[in-house]
């Protein structure tokens, strides 16, 4: 049987080891996306709406950080969490928690910048109305975030996709420990180097399917959101 055939068999056989790896990948990346979004969505909205000191500096920094190389993030988190580092006493290096932190840092600037970009035009459209209705600053942010929800969900999916696909950060801070911190991407890297191409390819198929599903979802959500956009 070809390698591809064996890989497909592995995917279809609901192999326990494979299931564990996929499950951990999803758990780490979903949690990281959740943590990043809780911080990045309100801050992205605030950057779009309010003028404050260092706003431009923050915008430039956050946009530059979108291209942050995962290995550099991994290295930074490693230095923070290693025994000699400032957070070393917590003992979370080489745990899923460390991987979640690294991926949160990686996704944060993406969600921040995309949220800001989604809210800018809506704020421009709404500003006079919200002023006339005398809404509070918190109501203003809530309104803009809600009405940008389709674009923001798209941003979250983009962040999730990036987290799920990256390998550099999680391999450094997670250590690729079998059954504990081994996720899809780190397994693919390891198994390929070992010549175990069936498992690597099986995980590759699953990763590609998830990426494909995310893109379909982004496309669907965007087309739904367009119905509410004023085109005049």
């Amino acid at each position: 049987m070809s390698i591809l055939g064996e890989a497909i068999d592995l995917v279809l056989s609901a192999d326990a080891e494979l299931g564990g790896i996929v499950g951990l990948s999803l758990r780490v990346s979903l949690t990281a996306t959740l943590i990043a979004s809780i911080l990045a969505i309100p801050l992205g909205a605030a950057l779009a709406v309010w003028n404050f000191r260092f706003r431009q500096v923050l915008i430039v920094i956050s946009t530059s950080l979108m291209a942050l190389p995962p290995v550099v993030v991994g290295l930074m988190i490693y230095l923070l969490l290693s025994r000699a580092g400032p957070l070393g006493s917590y003992g979370i290096l080489f745990t899923p928690m460390a991987m979640i932190i690294a991926q949160s840092v990686l996704i944060f600037p993406i969600v921040l910048a995309l949220t800001r970009e989604a809210i800018l035009p809506i704020n421009r459209d709404y500003k006079n109305l919200l002023d006339a209705l005398n809404v509070t600053p918190v109501q203003r942010l809530k309104t803009l975030i809600w009405d940008a929800r389709f674009a923001i969900v798209t941003a979250l999916l983009a962040g999730f996709g990036r987290a799920l696909a990256e390998v550099g950060a999680v391999i450094i801070v997670g250590g690729n420990i079998a059954g504990f911190t081994r996720v899809m991407t780190t397994t693919i890297a390891l198994e390929t180097s070992k010549g175990n191409l069936q498992l690597a390819l099986a995980l590759g198929i699953i990763l590609l399917s998830i990426a494909f599903a995310i893109n379909i979802l982004i496309h669907w959500i965007s087309s739904f959101g367009r119905k509410y956009q004023v085109t005049r």
Binding site: A132, D147, V230, R232
Partner: protein, 233 residues
């Protein structure tokens, strides 16, 4: 009935005096038309009346309180409809929500406004799909839903066809019949004549005439007023 007081109002932008020494003491119990040529300062005056723009000097008060206060007692409608990216029904619900109106009775109030604006059949459509006339009716309904005492309308019927204009005028009349007062800026003389009982005539930032509409249209006292009615301004 609300008392509008404007004292020594001036507005300057980039060295241009866009509003000059406006003084008004006016108790409105109907429809006041703010008329004048393009650039006369009509929209700017309306914005200042609602506290959206701060005057360079002078004071605007509604029943003695500064225009920046009590925005919830007034409704404001912009020339270009501002549409929330929600359904028509949710657009109407929005002011009730942000102004913390009690939840009970909201659905009835929305249904009533949908009926008044003749948009009941479009209630659950995205508001972005409305035509220009429908969108403006929705924004007026949204301004009326909180039951304000005063409605400020900035050229609400510009670019609308006569049928849409008539529907909007009907909404204005029904608000006034319920004891509301209206300030409407317009450069449509026929509309000002049809609707208003009082006129503020502005020219180049100055209030040149403030009088009963029938008197203004019968015999304007200023040269500019006569020129404007003759179509020369």
């Amino acid at each position: 009935m609300t008392q509008l007081t404007i004292e020594n109002l001036n507005y300057t932008s980039d060295d241009a005096r866009l509003l000059k020494d406006i003084n008004i003491s006016h108790k409105n119990n109907g429809i006041t038309a703010i008329i004048g040529a393009n650039g006369a300062g009509k929209s700017l005056l309306l914005s200042i009346l609602h506290g959206l723009i701060a005057p360079t000097s002078g004071r605007v008060a509604w029943d003695g309180a500064s225009a920046t206060k009590g925005k919830n007692t007034r409704g404001y409608v912009f020339q270009k409809p501002i549409i929330l990216r929600r359904s028509v029904r949710d657009n109407l619900a929005y002011p009730l929500k942000v102004q913390n109106h009690p939840k009970t009775g909201q659905a009835e109030a929305i249904d009533q406004m949908l009926e008044l604006s003749q948009l009941s059949h479009l209630a659950d459509q995205p508001a972005a799909s409305l035509s220009g006339g429908e969108a403006q009716r929705m924004t007026i309904a949204r301004a009326l839903i909180t039951q304000p005492k005063t409605l400020l309308l900035d050229e609400p019927c510009s670019n609308l066809d006569p049928a849409s204009t008539k529907l909007i005028e009907n909404m204005i009349h029904s608000f006034v019949a319920g004891d509301g007062s209206v300030y409407i800026s317009t450069h449509d003389m026929a509309q000002a004549k049809r609707l208003s009982n009082v006129v503020f005539f502005l020219e180049a930032g100055q209030l040149l005439e403030h009088k009963a509409a029938k008197d203004f249209f019968a015999a304007p006292t200023t040269r500019e007023g006569r020129a404007y009615l003759n179509g020369d301004l």
